[in-house]
Every structure is written in structure tokens, then in C-alpha cells.
Symmetry: C2
């Protein structure tokens, strides 16, 4: 039995990775983070998928870690009330404002602790699964592979039993388009409803109070581009009709 601790943000990448792991027979434990993100609707979406998968016969122990107090006052636009999240494509300089200092290091160290605790329990290997991909690291330095490798090396040195923990990042060389393609294949293999799974995700950094995606944040644009690339309508709810969402995305991507 392969075992994986999955960092489940509730976005399309980690959700696809969850399906990927199930289709490969992994026993999965999922960890999500509530860190005051304005797009915390992603946690509700993750829960909807966890419940859907339970209905379909897949039981995923799921923990939402709440480091809000630890990460208070760090000053990113993603988590600070009153600072607005910049719009536009991810290439732009102003996306730097959405960086939360050392966020992924904090999350990674907590995930690693729980993987190691599982190792201590079963005395067998546990993999840490991350939905990171090639599109991520252009903006956020803590999504870079060099960072991940350096962190993994530090955790290896700093813990007994670390020889039982490894990383599994199947999307590393991919992008949102190849991730959606992988999810389509795996949903079909497991008899899962791809559209429902994707409806139960959030990618937008600035959804409205009803949880509908703006279609305008950098993350939105990337997601819309990927759905256009696989030739399907994004089943997630947007604030505008799909045609307008596509039109806006195309104007930004030009």
C-alpha cells in the first residue's frame, strides 16, 4: 500500500493530484491550510470534493490546519484586509504583492511533520505530494524547484526517520493544461464526474461573497486558458457568463 500526504489547497492542481493518487491506489491523507486567504472558499470546495469522493467509496482523512495566528501581520495583499488583490496576468510585477513571506516553507514544514508522524505510526514509507507545476515558480520564489529541494534536504537532515519520507510531484514539468488532461483521464478511469470535481474547486484569488470566480485575477486567467486549451467549458461558477469570461481572458493573454 502506497501512502501519501497531500497538500490540498482546494484549487484545480491539488484536486487533480488527489484524483491522480486515488487512481494509482494510494492511501491518502489530505492537509489544507486556512491562513486568512481571501479566497478561503477553496476550503469549502475541498470539503465538497472530500464528501463527493466519500460517496464514491474513497475515504480521505482530511485536516484543515489553521496557522492564521502564526501568520498574522505578515502584510501580503492575499491575507491583509484592505489591501486589494491585483488583477491581470501573472507575468506582471504587481503580483509580487500577493506573496506571503515564507508561506510555503511554513506549510511544508507542517506537512512534513504529519508525514513523519504517519511514518512513526506505520514504520513504512510515506510520500509528500504537491501539485506544483512549471507555471508556479515564475512568480513565487517559494514555488521554485531549487527551494523545494533545499527544504527537503533540510528536513532530511533535521529528523529521525526522514529516510522514509519522499516527495512526489508528478506535475512539476507540466502546466495547468496537462494537469486538466491528467484529471480527465483519471476521472474516467475511476468513474468520477470530472465536471463536478472541477466545479468543486476554486482558483480565483478574488471570488465574490457567493464564491463566484472573478475571472480576472492572474490565477483565473491561467485556469481559463487551460480549459480553452482542452476545449471544455470551465464548470466552476463565474460572476459573468462563460463567453464574457473567455473574451476577457483572451484580451489579457494577447
Amino acid at each position: 500500500m502506497k501512502r501519501a500526504v497531500l497538500a490540498l489547497s482546494g484549487g484545480m492542481d491539488s484536486t487533480s493530484l488527489l484524483i491522480h493518487l486515488l487512481s494509482r491506489g494510494y492511501e491518502v491523507r489530505a492537509i489544507s491550510f486556512n491562513y486568512n486567504q481571501k479566497h478561503h472558499i477553496e476550503l469549502d470546495r475541498a470539503e465538497e470534493n472530500i464528501l463527493y469522493l466519500l460517496q464514491m467509496g474513497y475515504r480521505i482523512p482530511w485536516m484543515t490546519v489553521d496557522p492564521r495566528q502564526a501568520m498574522s501581520g505578515l502584510g501580503s495583499a492575499l491575507t491583509t484586509p484592505g489591501k486589494s488583490v491585483p488583477e491581470g496576468h501573472y507575468e506582471q510585477e504587481n503580483m509580487i504583492e500577493t506573496v506571503v513571506p515564507n508561506r510555503n516553507a511554513i506549510f511544508s514544514s507542517i506537512i512534513y511533520a504529519h508525514a513523519l508522524s504517519w511514518v512513526n505510526e506505520v514504520k513504512e514509507p510515506v510520500e509528500i505530494c504537491l501539485g506544483i507545476h512549471s507555471g508556479d515558480h515564475q512568480i513565487y520564489p517559494d514555488c521554485r524547484p531549487e527551494f523545494r529541494d533545499a527544504l527537503a534536504e533540510a528536513f532530511r537532515i533535521g529528523n529521525w526517520g526522514s529516510e522514509y519520507v519522499s516527495y512526489y510531484t508528478p506535475y512539476l514539468a507540466g502546466n495547468k493544461t496537462t494537469i486538466l488532461q491528467d484529471c480527465l483521464v483519471n476521472c474516467e478511469r475511476l468513474g468520477l464526474d470530472f465536471d463536478l470535481v472541477m466545479k468543486n474547486t476554486n482558483t480565483s484569488y478574488n471570488p465574490d461573497f457567493a464564491g463566484r470566480a472573478s475571472g480576472k485575477s492572474g490565477a483565473d486567467i491561467e485556469r481559463i486558458e487551460a480549459f480553452l486549451n482542452i476545449g471544455r467549458k470551465d464548470p466552476v461558477e463565474y460572476q459573468q457568463p462563460w463567453e464574457e469570461v473567455v473574451e476577457h481572458a483572451k484580451s489579457v493573454l494577447k
Copy 2:
């Protein structure tokens, strides 16, 4: 103006480091952690010293980070109700039970985030100060210098502005005896009461409900040894008279 973010456990090492920084003119922000440690009395002691220092004219902004929920279920004797903390000297195998998986990586990543946030605020260098010393890393792999270096390298890679963050660990080559000697000198320099400062610390892993040290955990034994080495009575409260505490420690150290 030099700036330091100090990891203040409320033990004798980090408390001595706080005095060390003040005597060198640093502007200090202190971070403590409440992680369900059975010896959480150390947080009250830290507060007592923060208040004492305020009285003496030194204002230390202080934050107690609470990652208890994030670190729940990790199974260490230090944090799990019903698991007793082993007694004896630190050299012994059973001390492994007191390891909390990846604890120092979690703490370090949070401290780093706050240091970086301070950098973003002032656009000037900030040092991260840790009271680690040569006695630590024999038992806990996440106290090893190789671990700290690897982690620092990962954080450097993973963050913008990381060139402004450095580490300051003046006790690294020392031990609890040299730390006490340093604290004595600095207290004298600043006109602080060394005995009061040390009374306001906790080193014991298993104090009683009144907060009195057992004198029997591995950490206790090291502390008592250090006070014997500098030829002073430890001003902290023990469950037994000082003479009995010393007698017990000597029998373990033989």
C-alpha cells in the same frame, strides 16, 4: 540600529540571548511558541522577564505564536497527554521520545516569515537570533548546525528580500555553563538582576502544577550542572531543597 527577531522559549538559553542582544544595543522583537508543551510555564516566565525588562527601560515587542492545532496528533511525549516525559540524563536513548517531528523547522519557518516581514517594513537588515548551543544537537537532529544551515539556505532561495536576513547564534560553540557566564556579564553591564532574570525562566520538562522544576528531566540536569560550574545556586524554584536537587543531579551525572 541592529535589529533581531529572537526565538524566546522562556528557557535559560534564549533568555540569556535576549540580555546579550540588549547589551549590544539591538532592537529586539521576541517570538515564543505555545505548542502544547507540558512545560508551558516557560511562557509565563518569559512574560515575567519581558515585564521586568520593560520596568528597567527595555521595551521588547513580544508575540506568542500558537501552532497547537497545526501540530496536534504528532505523538511526542513532550506534547501528548498521557505519555510521560522520560527522566534521566540527556545522553539516554529514551530522550528520543521527547522529539516533536520537524518542530524546529516549523518554528524556524514562522520566525523567518516575521523577520522578512520586518525587512519589508524597514528595508534594512534583520537578524534571526537563536540560543542553540553545542549541547543541543546530540539528542535532537533539528538542533544540528547542518540542519540550520540547510534550512537557512532553503529560506534564502525561497524568498524575495532574503539577502537582508541573516542568522546570529553566538552560543553555538558554547554550552549552558558559558551561556550563564555570558548572562552574568551582560546583566552586570546593563544593571539587571541576574538571579531575578534566571528565576523567571524554566528549563524543566516536567514542572509541577505550581511551576516548580522537577530537577530530574534531562534538561534540568544540564541546567543544574551549569549552575554548579559557575558556583552559584540556581534561583529557580525546585520541588526539593537545592541541596537535594544537587545531590540527585550529581548521582545522575556520575
